[in-house]
């Protein structure tokens, strides 16, 4: 990273250490060591004494192995996990690995984003191949040196051995020779057998954990540049509103204020309701000062009259009334239909009808959105906790008219992401303000900015009807899903897939939808769509189980066994549609495991307590959970214990982190279900900070027991499906 050394303990940072040791060892090494930092290329030295077989690995003659972590780290553990895959196949000990965060670089890296629990399935093989390629090249270098066949050489813990002659060379001693070995064909490389894994499947601590617990600068908010100014940005409380006028002169007279100006994006980003992720960005008043406190203090003197626009008419109460009305009318569209749900509902002996609702919620990353930007000589440099730098760069390039190649993005550790940092509105604002201010600027949002200007998890309404036959089998399921959008198009993250469960498992199935307009930005929150749909679906399955007089676990197992013969199942279904490739055998596996671990049906419970069971398939992961919960006399629900069983394939790459992710996901779900709601009045978000938008607290966090069922499938992601 090109940020300045910030080690406040007085020890040498790695960069300084190399500088010193380089001087001690001669100028040539100095330049080659520092090449990745781009700092001293002017010396003109040729990089002969370093082995960089690919963009992920750097080995220097002193045997130091640096592995580049390409993806944004937001707390999901990817900065540790991807290097683990490389180190495994490179055959080095984890304790000898240094990890370095890559900047955004589309010329070197593939899929450099944090979203959709995609890192594991995308990189499971490519990262391992990157490590294996380097290992093959090091073996080749050693074999050539010794004049022996490569097949007689092997590696262990960063050393190439020729057992027959007892010779051995550490990787550091081979870097010069290895640098001239042609790279092997990645596709034909032999990878380790899982039985030989020494790193994958072991508990590895986060590479930044030490820096975190000692308070080292790591996050976007921690960046400081020479001559940097600080900015705050006032947006219209009504989404899509614009500045009519503002008392800029008074604001400019406040202590420390350097600039105060209106940003009017005009039409450059297009219609905010047109489906673009960031169309709501910009439009507001920027205040730039010598310190952030001064900028924020000056903002209290700011008076803006807004052109609020049509968004001011919308409200949560209005949405609820519209949804109720839509539910009584014929659905606007049918997403999927099997058999004849209407007839089956009319003729079945037992029918259940229910409506489920979930509200808007905010991401509320604990690190408020921020970005530091520097615009110099036509080039823009950004430091940001971003989940999707590619989108941010494109948006900024388009808006500010800067070529994409002239924009550098340093990916900082994100203080939480949950989907919020897929959006680049805060980066665009920082870039615009820094360009206008003619100085490096750190833009930092307040918590109120963050809660009131999010891309919200859309509210949703499910009007459900289901029927069971005399034997207690589910024979009909109809869902009229009421959501937001226009015509046949759903607002972002406000859709359902046509094959959402229990499609394919009920003979008479209808998934229908109606939408109403929304002038509010919506977005993806951890397990998007699933985090609402799973609640409605699994709750209604429970109601049907009770109607059928069946145990909720048994009812679910029966349902999973009821794959309709003419519908594809398991791996044969076309991929891509939500729910289309749900494999009932894998789901049955986790249901049975969680039932066993929780003592389902055999645990004695105190009065007022009960157990519930549910499952869900998303992001290629299979999860089943049992909750033990209590209802007080006053009707307050608290959760006392959760058991989880998950199947994300053949390997749990880092069990230490996987458990943490699953526990966090489950507790996140409890917070969403029991405490969180964003409400809209007169087009404005009512909530503003953590006193009225509630995060889960320590005293509300029950024990969460996590179990994994390993199956023969390639491993998939763990950040969302639980």
């Amino acid at each position: 990273m090109s940020r300045p050394s910030t080690d406040v303990t007085g020890r040498f940072s790695r960069r300084e250490f190399l500088l010193v040791s380089g001087i001690a060892g001669g100028g040539l090494l100095l330049a080659t060591f520092l090449k990745p930092f781009g700092a001293l290329e002017a010396l003109g030295a040729t990089p002969a004494a370093e082995f960089t077989p690919n963009a992920f690995i750097r080995i220097t003659p002193d045997g130091i192995v640096t592995i580049i972590a390409q993806n944004p780290e937001i707390g999901q553990g990817v900065k540790t996990m991807l290097p683990m895959l490389i180190a495994e196949e490179l055959d080095i000990d984890w304790k000898d690995v240094h990890v370095e965060q890559a900047p955004y670089d589309a010329t070197k890296f593939n899929s450099q984003f944090a979203g959709g629990s995609r890192a594991t399935p995308t990189h499971w093989l490519p990262m391992r191949r990157a490590g294996a390629a380097a290992r093959v090249m090091l073996i080749s270098a050693a074999a050539h040196k010794w004049g022996v066949p490569e097949s007689e050489c092997e590696t262990a813990s960063g050393v190439v051995h020729h057992r027959a002659s007892g010779r051995a060379l550490g990787y550091g001693a081979l870097v010069e020779a290895a640098a001239s070995v042609p790279a092997p064909d990645l596709k034909t490389l032999a990878l380790k057998d899982a039985r030989d894994f020494k790193i994958i499947g072991t508990k590895i601590r986060g590479v930044d954990t030490h820096a975190i617990v000692t308070g080292r600068p790591l996050y976007g908010i921690d960046i400081t540049l020479p001559g940097m100014l600080y900015a705050t940005f006032e947006r219209c409380p009504v989404f899509g509103g614009k500045v009519a006028n503002a008392n800029l002169a008074e604001v400019r007279a406040q202590p420390g204020v350097r600039h105060a100006f209106v940003i009017d994006k005009g039409s450059v980003l297009g219609d905010p309701n047109g489906g673009g992720l960031d169309g709501f960005a910009l439009d507001g008043v920027a205040i730039v000062a010598d310190s952030w406190w001064q900028a924020k203090s000056a903002r209290q003197k700011l008076r803006v009259s807004w052109s609020e626009g049509a968004g001011a008419k919308q409200s949560s109460a209005g949405f609820a009334a519209s949804a109720a009305q839509l539910s009584t009318q014929p659905p606007q569209q049918t997403l999927h239909r099997d058999g004849d749900a209407e007839t089956a509902l009319r003729s079945a002996p037992k029918t259940v009808r229910a409506a489920y609702f979930y509200p808007f919620i905010a991401h509320a990353t604990l690190e408020p959105q921020n970005c530091t930007a520097q615009f110099r000589n036509g080039k823009l440099e950004l430091w940001a906790g971003t989940q999707f730098p590619e989108i941010g760069r494109g948006l900024i390039a388009k808006t500010l008219g800067i070529a994409e190649n002239d924009i550098t993005i340093h990916i900082m550790r994100g203080g939480g992401g949950f989907g919020r940092r897929l959006h680049s509105d805060f980066m665009l604002e920082a870039a615009w303000i820094a360009k206008a201010a003619g100085a490096p600027v750190k833009l930092l949002w307040t918590r109120e900015d963050d809660i009131q200007h999010d891309f919200y998890r859309p509210a949703g309404w499910h009007y459900l009807a289901g029927a069971v036959d005399a034997s207690g089998k589910l024979v009909a399921w109809r869902n009229h899903f009421v959501s937001f959008g226009e015509g046949k198009t759903f607002a972002t993250s406000a859709s359902m897939g046509p094959l959402e469960f229990p499609a394919r498992f009920v003979p008479n199935f209808a998934l229908e939808a109606s939408v109403m307009p929304l002038a509010l930005p919506t977005g993806y929150i951890r397990a998007p769509v699933s985090n609402g749909v799973a609640f409605a679906t699994q709750s209604f399955i429970d109601e049907l189980a009770h109607a059928a007089g069946k145990d909720p676990l048994q009812f679910r197992l029966d349902l999973l066994a009821n794959v309709q013969p003419d519908k594809p199942a398991g791996g044969e279904a076309p991929r891509g549609q939500r729910g289309s490739d749900l494999d009932p055998a894998r789901m049955r596996g986790v249901l049975e495991l969680v039932a066993e671990k929780s003592g389902w049906g055999s645990r004695s419970l105190p009065r007022g307590s009960g157990m519930g069971i549910a499952f869900h398939y998303s992001h290629s992961g299979y999860f089943a959970e049992v909750v033990q919960a209590r209802v007080s006399r006053a009707g307050k629900i608290s959760v006392d214990k959760v058991w989880v069983a998950g199947d994300v394939g053949s390997d749990i790459i880092n069990p230490l982190n996987a458990e943490n992710q699953v526990q966090g996901s489950v507790l996140d779900g409890i917070a969403e279900a029991l405490a969180q709601e964003i409400t809209i009045e007169r087009g404005r978000v009512v909530q503003s900070n953590f006193h009225d938008f509630h995060l889960l607290r320590l005293t509300q966090a029950p024990p969460v027991e996590v179990h994994f069922r390993k199956t023969r499938f390639e491993p998939t992601g763990i950040g969302e499906p639980a």
Binding site: S5, T6, D7, V8, T9, S13, T66, I74, G75, P83, W94, K95, D96, V97, H98, V99, Q101, K203, I204, R205, V207, D208, T209, H210, A211, I212, V213, G215, R216, L218, Y219, I221, T224, P255, S291, W293, Q294, T365, L366, E367, P368, R413, G415, G416, F418, T446, R447, N660, Q663, G664, L667, D668, A671, N689, H691, L695, L696, L698, T699, P703
Partner: protein, 168 residues
């Protein structure tokens, strides 16, 4: 206004507006970035430091109020991560995103200083105001118990070092 106080044992004198919260003095004037901004309203605990040993939300504490005080931040909990809580946090790998953890540690350190062997109820009372958006609460509780055990068991106090580290 000139305010003089001690941070992590070292004297500091700053000339800033008197209403500037201690948080911003620490972060933007003294360049101690370990203390975090989360809410600006004493609602989340990310900014927790100790003022004369008492866990305090620095985001709402005007710097004028700490004249002559002794402040401890995460950087001063230990110089090298050797405080039992830091070691326990590493051992159990508590953090996910990590942003709240400095505040969590400062609250927990004040608890352990007051009560060497805290019960779960003590932990509930001391830690309920520190929010973790990633919900690492289960490990936070375990790590406080672990650190308390380390303090009384000399055999456990060896430095924990066996994983890869990010290059600074």
């Amino acid at each position: 206004m000139t305010v003089t106080f001690k941070v992590n044992g070292k004297p500091a004198t700053v000339d800033v507006p008197p209403d500037m919260p201690l948080l911003w003095v620490l972060r933007d004037v003294l360049d101690l970035k370990g203390t975090k901004f989360g809410c600006g309203a004493a609602q989340c605990g990310a900014c927790t430091v100790q003022v004369r040993g008492v866990p305090t939300r620095s985001c709402v504490l005007p710097v004028s109020a700490v004249q002559g005080s002794e402040i401890t931040t995460i950087e001063g909990l230990s110089s090298d991560g050797s405080h039992p809580l830091q070691r326990a946090w590493e051992e159990l790998d508590v953090p996910q995103c990590g942003y709240c953890q400095a505040g969590q540690l400062m609250s927990a350190a004040a608890l352990l200083a007051k009560k060497a062997q805290p019960s779960d109820a003590d932990i509930d009372a001391a830690m309920d105001g520190n929010l973790c958006r990633c919900a690492t609460y289960i490990r936070i509780r375990q790590a406080i118990h672990r650190a308390a055990a380390m303090k009384t068991n000399a055999a456990d106090t060896s430095r924990f070092y066996d994983s890869g580290r990010s290059a600074p």
